[in-house]
């Protein structure tokens, strides 16, 4: 019997990821209504996503690449605002991929250093496949899972 796996809650999963970056201490209301430290590095990320949402043409894509849809950009913005408010560590990088998806990536501090212990988490937003989490480690072990996002009161 195959038991379907329920998608994990995106916000809870993001908050459970190991963080190796300092988070500034500024108490703000969270989804649960309890004050929690927030990461100010979300602010430029949210601002950039707001610019993309206002004018998707600002997204620099190469010839032949697929530009993310406005709906996907708005979902990315909503997720960024929610993760910021919930006290999640900001992603290392947010990017539009050439297949029309948007990624929120967390890289370990050893990433790109030629070390054998790097880790990467990629949150992919796709019009085709929904929201997916991907974990990859230096030894090439990889896992992925569906994530569920429901915006809360911001």
């Amino acid at each position: 019997v195959i038991v379907p796996v329920q998608p994990l809650d995106l916000v809870e999963h993001w908050l459970s990821l190991p963080g190796d970056s300092p988070v500034s201490v500024a108490s703000e209301p969270t989804r649960a209504g309890v004050g929690r430290a927030v990461d100010d590095r979300w602010r430029p990320i949210v601002a950039n996503l707001e610019r993309w949402a206002e004018d998707p043409e600002q997204l620099e894509v190469e010839v032949g690449d697929v530009r993310p849809t406005l709906g996907l950009v708005k979902l990315a913005l909503e997720i960024a605002r929610e993760l910021h408010t919930a006290g999640g560590v900001a992603p290392t990088v947010v990017s539009a991929a050439p297949d029309g998806t948007i990624t929120f990536e967390r890289h370990s501090s050893s990433f790109g250093q030629g070390m054998r212990d790097w880790r990467m988490f990629v949150l992919t937003l796709s019009d085709e496949t929904g929201i997916e989490g991907l974990r990859v480690a230096a030894d090439r072990t990889a896992s992925r899972f569906d994530l569920h996002f429901e915006s809360g009161p911001v």
Partner: protein, 134 residues
Amino acid sequence: MNGGLAEVIPDEAVLLRRIPLTQFPAGQIAFANFVPSPRDTDGLSLFLQSVRSAESLVAAAPRPGAGVAAATAGEIRRLGLTLVFSEEHGGPGHCHVPEIRYSVRNELPVKALIAALTELFARRIVVRPGLPNG
């Protein structure tokens, strides 16, 4: 030219990947930069540095702010990947990695390879993506 010429790319040859400015913070190298596009039906595009310089790749980018990252052929092969000359498709110095092509981009082993390739190229950023005024 075809896959038979892959063996003639020496391990010490440097391969370049153009990084369009689609990320922020701008200077970062992202997994998304190594996801194949719909035109990558044969595989992910790279360029031999001995034929195409980083400066020429940046100059040929359709939008300003593109960067370039590098890795050697030997490093790429040690990830289990293949390099194929394909100048007839992408111009002088063009190569591609057939294991990372558009049609298989969502397969988990391919995603793991994309992550490993991203980490490899992130070690050597030749030109950081970004605009002069930030």
